[in-house]
Structure formats: C-alpha cells, structure tokens
C-alpha cells in the first residue's frame, strides 16, 4: 500500500507535507518487512534534524532499524501514542502510526524525495 499524495525516502519513510510542516512515518512496506514493532524511540520536541540523518529507532522482536529524516528542520511534535503502543505502527503506518512532525528549514529538499510512483518501483525491485 503506497499513498499517492506522500513523498518517500529510499529508506522507507514517508513525508506528508502541510505548508511548511511535514509529518513523517514509515511505510506499509517497512512495517511489513520489520514485523511486529515493539519499540519506538523518537527525538525530543525542539530537536534539530538533518535530512537523511537518523532521528530515531524502531525495533521489532528480531531487528533494530534506524529512522531517517526525509527533510531538515525542527521537531514540532512527536507521536507519543506510537511510543506507548508501538503496534499502531503495524496496524496504521500512514495514520495513527505516524512518528514526528517537522517544521522544515529547507523545503526544497522535498524535490529530492521519491514520488509515490518512484517509491512503488523501488519496493517492487526489492521484492
């Protein structure tokens, strides 16, 4: 499942752009590959993020996986519901399983992200 209106990274995060803010999470494909998510670690509100650098961690029973920020900016909000109940990342990765909301410092970085069609190709190539 890949949503048309989102931007994607090669590392399987999505970004939903609303004005100068972006909401970020991991894709359906990412949660499926991870399996049952049992731990989510997110940055503190106010932290500065750089595009393509790690901002947190998701862990399944078997694996530890870094989260990479699609864009640079400041963390406005984190989804503490996902921290408290990591299973929502599996059940609703594009909705209640979102991770963080970023105020973008350089929105032109969005141009280097993948479109839904390009991300779909990437996922299909790894299958």
């Amino acid at each position: 499942m890949i949503l048309e209106n989102l931007k994607y990274t090669k590392d399987h995060e999505w970004a939903n752009v609303e004005g100068k803010n972006a909401i970020v999470g991991i894709t359906h494909h990412a949660q499926e590959a991870l399996g049952d998510v049992v731990f989510v670690e997110l940055p503190q509100v106010g932290s500065k993020l750089e595009a393509h650098k790690t901002f947190g961690v998701v862990e399944s029973i078997k694996a530890v996986s870094d989260l990479f920020s699609p864009v640079s900016g400041t963390v406005l909000e984190i989804n503490s519901a996902a921290v408290n109940d990591p299973a929502v990342v599996n059940t609703d990765p594009y909705g209640s399983g979102w991770m963080i909301k970023i105020e973008m410092s350089n929105p032109s970085e969005l141009d280097s992200l993948l479109s839904a069609a390009d991300y779909k190709k990437l996922v299909e190539a790894t299958r």
């Binding site: 399996g35 049952d36 049992v38 731990f39 670690e41 961690v57 862990e59 399944s60 029973i61 078997k62 530890v64 921290v83």
Partner: protein
C-alpha cells in the same frame, strides 16, 4: 546455494518469510513472531527444525566413547531416555550443546545445532581417533545421519492430543526427556521424543527426510480445531529466551566454559575422564569469572546481543548481553547476560548501554516465564 528442508514447499504455501539461517533457508516467521509465540504458549505450535544435525554413535564402545566425549554421565542413561549434554574442547570451552538419545544398549543418536554440525562431526572424529589410538581397533561407529532425518517439533499443551490422533504409540507413557520409536500415520517410522526448546509440553519427531511433508500436513489438519500455528525461527528464539534456555552462538561459545554458562548441572566432574575435564577443574578452582544471569529492563528499551552492562553510574563494563528481546508473554524487555561473578546476584541493579543511553535493569530469577500447567521444569 542455501540448503532447504523437505518442508520447503510447505513454508512457501504458508507464506513463511524465508531467511538464511546458518546456510539453511528457513522461515523466520509466518503470521508474525508474537501471534506464533502466543499460540504455542496457549495451545500448540509446529516447527520445522530439520536443519538440526543427527549423528549415530554405535558399537560396543559407544557408551564409553560418549562418556569421554560429553560432559554429562551417559552411564545414567536408560534405553529410551534422552539427556541434555554438551561437548568441550581440551581447553574446557564449549564446542556445542546437544541431546543424546539412547536407542539401544550400543546405539545412540546425538542431536546437535545445525550451524555446528560440520564442526562437531570433525571434533567427534578427532576424539574418536585418539580414543582408537588408545584402545586399538574397536567396535565404534560414528556417522553423520543429518541428511536422513527431518525434524518436526510439536510444542504446547495440546501437542499430545494432536499427535495421538496420528499414531498408536501410547504417548501418555512417554515421560519428559524420554522417547519411543514407532509408526506415524500408516507406516512412517519415527523417533517420538518428549523433548523441546519452548518450556511447553510437547514432542520432537525424527522422521525419514522425505516423509516430513505428510506428517506436517497431517498434524496441521489434526490440530486445526486447536488453532495449531506454524512457528518460525523468531518464535523459537523468543520461546527459548523466556525459559532462559541457552543458545549456541549467544550464551554458549568457544570462549565460555560450562560452569560460567550455568551448565554445572550437566558437568559430571566425578567421571574418571572426559575431554576438557582438567581444564574445567582448574576453572572450578579459580571460580568462574562470570555467570549467566537473567535481566529485566526497568525502563523502555530492548536489550540485544553485545550491549554492555555497567554498575549504576560507573564506567567500567561488568558484563554483556548475550540474547535479548521483548517477551511476548510478559510484555517486558528481557535478556540473558554474561556478568562478572561479583555482580551476578539476583536483585543487583545494573545499567545497559543502549545506543549511548544508560537504561536501568535488574538481575532477576529465571526462567522468566513458567507455563502454568508445568509444576516443575526439567
């Protein structure tokens, strides 16, 4: 090219997620580690463990040889009985842990870890050579029969009822760590052992290689009304971890001796001789440097192999995690760790370095989990 078990097609049709496990292509999960784990705990799970190695040790000298080769006392083993044991090198370090099944007066089957099969066989052959150079030409036959046996584990409180529906072998009579040989379905000759690696009641079935799919499907059909669930390597690992059963490559390795790995109970130092005995006696004299302990995290995080342990706000590491996970039964992060003997007491507060952050943890009693119907554990 990865090796495949006879159940490969079954894993594909069950949509198992296949991974490379020590050269074997095996499912890490089917429906998910957590549901598989919980199904095994609450009812019954079925596992393909055909990658395990099986050796035959046979002949007049088989028992004497195994008593030299392994740590436990093989002379205590009756026909039809199984014994958990391990092998060490001359330096007293663990080569592998294993189970010995005594099938006759002079006939034994030794089941070893898949990834160690080749190494173990070389080790056993070299011990056999030195044994023969001492005793001359003797009646002792050691063969690797791994390619002839599939192994299916059926684990959980409903295992007996399900298995009984496809065999005439009176399963109730098989006690824990005993086995019986007989027929499954119409004519499949099988070793049926009441053993396992989950802490649940259950069986491990040694089946002629190509007959495994028929047994697998028959058990799935017979178990349907009990919600039988195929379980992958992921659930196998979380189930054994909740029982704090050691796993070679994690708790056990060639820089760990049996006493510091908590295997003192199978290390029979009263035996006249066995490979590694003098080195292990020395380790005993000095006292083991470190111990294997169970730990629980007191804050959020998941311990993983290699994470270091510290005394609170100290900088010198006092131990290292060998296995860790989020326990599906307890919804609690648990781990097994090698910890310096001085700091290895139950109740001891420690800190784990998880990606640069210190997370508080405490040494706790093991097993972490006890199946409610099991009064005492083997």
């Amino acid at each position: 090219m990865l090796k495949r078990t006879a159940l490969h097609e079954e894993h594909l049709s069950l949509k198992g997620r296949l991974i490379d496990f020590g050269g074997w292509e095996l499912p890490v999960q089917y429906s998910g580690v957590i549901p598989e784990h919980l199904a095994c705990r609450s009812s019954v799970g079925i596992f393909d463990v055909s990658h395990m190695g099986e050796f035959f040790v046979e002949g007049n000298f088989a028992k004497r040889f195994l008593n030299i080769l392994t740590l436990n006392d093989v002379s205590k083993l009756d026909i039809g009985q199984a014994q958990y044991s391990a092998i060490c090198n001359e330096r007293g370090y663990l080569v592998d842990d294993l189970v010995i099944y005594r099938r006759g007066v002079d006939r034994f089957m030794v089941v070893v870890n898949a990834s160690n099969t080749a190494k173990d066989f070389r080790h056993i052959k070299s011990v056999q050579e030195s044994f023969e150079s001492k005793f001359g030409s003797i009646d002792l036959w050691v063969t690797d029969e791994s390619a002839r046996f599939s192994q299916i584990a059926l684990q959980g409180r409903n295992a007996e009822t399900i298995l009984q529906s496809i065999t005439e072998i009176p399963l109730k009579k098989i006690k824990t760590y005993w086995f019986s040989e007989g027929i499954l379905l119409d004519k499949i000759q099988t070793v049926v052992a009441r053993t396992g690696y989950t802490g649940e009641d259950g069986f491990e079935l040694y089946i002629p290689w190509l007959d495994a799919p028929r047994v697998w499907r028959a058990l799935l059909a017979a178990g349907e009304k009990f919600g039988i669930t195929p379980c992958g390597l992921g659930a196998r690992d979380t189930l054994r971890l909740e029982m704090s059963y050691p796993l070679y490559g994690h708790e056990l390795n060639e820089s760990t001796g049996p006493l510091e790995a908590g295997l003192g109970w199978i290390t029979k130092l009263y035996k006249e001789d066995f490979v590694g005995k003098s080195a292990i006696l020395k380790m005993k004299e000095c006292g083991p440097r470190r111990k294997l302990v169970g730990i629980k995290l007191l804050d959020r995080g998941i311990p993983r192999q290699g994470y270091k342990l510290y005394l609170p706000s100290q900088n010198e590491s006092v131990g290292e995690i060998s296995s860790g996970t989020q326990s599906p039964s307890l919804s609690q992060a648990i781990g097994i760790a090698h910890v310096h003997s001085m700091h290895a007491g139950v109740g001891k507060k420690l800190e784990i370095d998880i990606r640069g952050k210190r997370i508080p943890a405490v040494i706790c009693e093991t097993p972490f989990y006890r199946p409610p119907y099991q009064s005492k554990l083997k």
